[in-house]
């Protein structure tokens, strides 16, 4: 891997092969590293010369490059990381266009332009302040009143108003993540339900849901309906398996065949207004096919613990998404994978998922994912429903803002006119 020359860290240290080796080894060896699993294929980093490194892998890894474009590939200043030790996160030193100034908990993070940034001409701001504002109405009011220049996560229900407001500019892009009904297939006592034990009941539940209507009612049609872990339009979306249309009579027939005309389903939902509303729409649609859905609204920290323990029948779950398809499917359905709290396990699927990890050719990878999709959409351990869009509202003075599906705001090229 060749490295760019003439790059400096914020503390003035030069960026070179030794820093890359240090950073990657730090990700791999730091106790409690949340990056370790992402680059676990790396067994060693060799310095060829000052601007060339070689990554030694235990097996071919198709997703490694994508992982390195994300957090795992962010190279930190070795000197600062060693000096700060465990406290490095409070005083991060990297090589990006802005350096860290301060963080006031619950209030703001302030960054300042780094004059030695290698691509300094693309940066037009001296300072960026990030303000965490939890309420979407208040966020929007801030950009409307000129208090902020750019806000993210505009509520889907506010989008129409933002479009009509000449004082605002809307930017949208479909994200990498998804929302789905996750079904506890085999994790403990709570999985002993008709929904878990009879695939026809799961198929009936899927057929009872009109994804486009759900999107229209809850999100004003702003999000993107979907039926796979990648959104339609993504190169790894399997086109041969499109979103099935709603078919209540077929759903009823499947339930009759399963001898479960009125199965009960307890659906655990994070207690946010939008998701609860989505749950109610699902409840109403499924009821027409004969399902008796009860909604259990649960606060998020409790929900994570209950999910991990298998204390649910079905839950509305979401994933923020990764650039590489492996990051959106493997850990959720592979046998014994860390996020597979539903305990779905199919060796056939595992074989294809593992194979897709090692081939680089996109067409060949897609062929593996096609076979995974065929099986997953048949077994339905997850019923994928929609893909969130990233929605930003900005002052019309802001130019040069490019949206990316990962939702990160990249300041290069942005300016206030």
């Amino acid at each position: 891997m060749k490295l760019r020359r003439g790059v400096r860290f914020h503390d003035g240290e030069a960026f070179a092969a030794a820093a890359v080796k240090f950073s990657i080894e730090r990700h791999l060896n730091l106790p409690g590293s949340t990056r370790k699993a992402e680059i676990s294929a790396v067994t060693g980093v060799e310095i060829i010369d000052d601007y060339t490194v070689k990554l030694v892998l235990s097996a071919p890894s198709a997703s490694l490059l994508a992982q390195l474009t994300d957090r795992a590939g962010m190279i930190v200043s070795p000197k600062a990381a060693q000096v700060e030790g465990e406290n490095f996160a409070a005083h991060p030193v990297c090589a990006g266009p802005f350096k860290f100034v301060e963080r006031v908990a619950q209030d703001r993070i302030v960054l300042e332009r780094f004059s030695d940034y290698w691509n300094r001409d693309s940066i037009k701001f001296d300072r960026i302040s990030y303000l965490p504002i939890p309420d979407s109405t208040v966020r929007l009011a801030n950009v409307q009143s000129g208090g902020l220049d750019l806000i993210e996560r505009v509520a889907a229900t506010d989008v129409e108003g933002v479009r009509k407001d000449p004082g605002l500019k809307l930017t949208a892009i479909t994200g990498l993540g998804y929302s789905a009904i996750v079904i506890n297939i085999a994790n403990g006592e709570r999985s002993k339900t008709p929904l878990a034990q009879d695939v026809r009941v799961r198929q009936a539940l899927q057929l009872s849901i009109d994804r486009a209507a759900l999107n229209q009612v809850v999100f004003n049609g702003e999000f993107q309906p979907g039926n796979q872990w990648e959104p339609p339009g993504n190169p790894y979306y399997v086109k041969e398996l499109p979103i099935p249309p709603r078919d209540v009579s077929q759903a009823r027939q499947l339930l009759a065949e399963a001898k479960q005309p009125n199965p009960t389903v307890e659906l655990m939902i994070p207690n946010t207004p939008e998701l609860l509303q989505a749950g109610q729409v699902i409840q109403a649609m499924a009821q027409e096919a004969g399902f008796r859905v009860t909604i259990k609204a649960t606060e998020s920290a409790s929900l994570i613990q209950l999910a991990t323990k298998g204390e649910y029948q079905a839950r509305l779950g979401g994933w923020s998404g990764r650039t590489d398809p492996d990051g959106n499917i493997y850990n959720f359905v592979a046998c014994n994978a860390p996020l597979n709290d539903l305990h779905y396990c199919n060796p056939e699927v595992d074989r294809e998922l593992d194979a897709a990890r090692t081939v680089e050719d996109p067409a060949e990878r897609l062929a593996h994912y096609r076979r995974v999709a065929q099986q997953i959409l048949q077994d339905l351990p997850l019923i994928y429903l929609w893909h969130n869009k990233w929605l930003w509202a900005a002052t019309p003075k802001l130019a040069g803002f490019t949206p990316y599906p990962d939702g990160l705001i990249r300041p290069q090229g942005m300016r206030l006119e």
Binding site: P31, G32, A105, D107, A141, N142, Q144, S300, A301
Partner: protein, 313 residues
């Protein structure tokens, strides 16, 4: 007096001990695992195990309490697992913010509630009385967060007079500081003003029918002077007690308002800590609030004794 003080002070430590046991125990009843909440979306099992060990979450409950209590006795309230800073630092950073907000809110409440209460009592049974009572009811019934959002839409979005949210410290800019606190202080003050108005009104009604007020009137004193000088001073005693209590409550209870206006104070700190299962922060903040209440109570007791010798026993 000395025995009284000694007796009261001797009760402080056991009270704090029971408060600490209570918060520690109650928190454990909450479902949710701090390590899982902290491990991020990936929930890597090795990370979860590491965090459980690092923050002693795998130790038995009594052991964890002892570890924490030992730290508290040494002046260490522990470290926030989320913000990665000592809890004491966070308390010292956030308390003045909420303190200032609470003080402004009480000031606004007093300046609305007391005059309205007086007007209402003096004009007892007239249109003025009913109008003031209606306004007070409105203030009591309107939800804080809703009023907050309406104010933001009016003063920030439509009129462009005040910043919609956020906080600027006095050290940075006094005018910005006042601008950021105006709306949240009004929202909090508005609700308290209603209670103040009702208390002032009933206290004033009692005092206005007292003999000495009638005597003052009979002596030919000006009515305004009788109301403000003779009656109001006596009627204010319960109102001041109420203001002191409300001030204490605001220190930990301005949660919703701080959330809407994104004021980085005590309320927001504790809400985020509860959602993230940041036990040390919750325990530290509750302990500090409890201590503040105990001290305020003690001061009030001392004040009563000074005022009324019959209580010395």
């Amino acid at each position: 007096m000395t025995t009284f003080l000694a007796r009261r002070l001797a009760l402080v430590l056991p009270t704090l001990f029971f408060v600490s046991l209570l918060i520690f125990g109650l928190q454990q009843l909450l479902p949710g695992d701090p390590a899982l909440a902290l491990a991020g979306e990936d929930r890597d099992p090795s990370v979860v195990a590491y965090l459980q060990q690092k923050y002693h979450l795998d130790e038995p409950l009594p052991m964890r309490y002892l570890l924490w209590a030992r730290g508290v006795l040494a002046g260490d309230l522990g470290e926030s697992i989320r913000i990665k800073r000592p809890v004491l630092d966070l308390v010292v950073e956030k308390l003045p913010v909420t303190g200032e907000l609470a003080a402004f809110a009480i000031l606004i409440a007093l300046s609305i509630g007391v005059p309205m209460g007086v007007l209402s009592a003096v004009n007892h049974g007239t249109v003025v009385d009913y109008a003031a009572t209606m306004t007070a009811l409105w203030g009591l019934s309107i939800p804080n967060f809703w009023l907050g959002i309406l104010l933001i839409l009016l003063f920030s979005v439509t009129l462009g007079l005040l910043p919609a949210s956020g906080f600027v410290s006095r050290a940075e800019s006094l005018s910005h500081n006042l601008a950021t606190l105006a709306m949240p202080a009004f929202v909090l003050g508005n609700a308290i003003a209603a209670a103040m108005m009702r208390h002032t009104r009933s206290a004033m009604l009692g005092v206005l029918s007292a003999d000495y007020v009638r005597t003052a009137g009979a002596k030919g004193l000006d009515e305004t002077r009788v109301v403000l000088h003779h009656a109001l001073r006596n009627a204010l005693v319960p109102v001041i007690t109420l203001a002191a209590l409300d001030f204490g409550a605001l220190l930990s209870g301005a949660v919703l308002t701080e959330q809407v206006f994104t004021i980085p104070g005590f309320g927001k700190l504790i809400v985020d800590a509860v959602f993230n299962r940041d036990y040390a922060v919750v325990q530290g903040v509750v302990l500090c609030t409890a201590l503040a209440y105990i001290v305020l109570n003690l001061l009030a007791d001392i004040a009563y004794v000074l005022v009324n010798p019959r209580l010395r026993g």
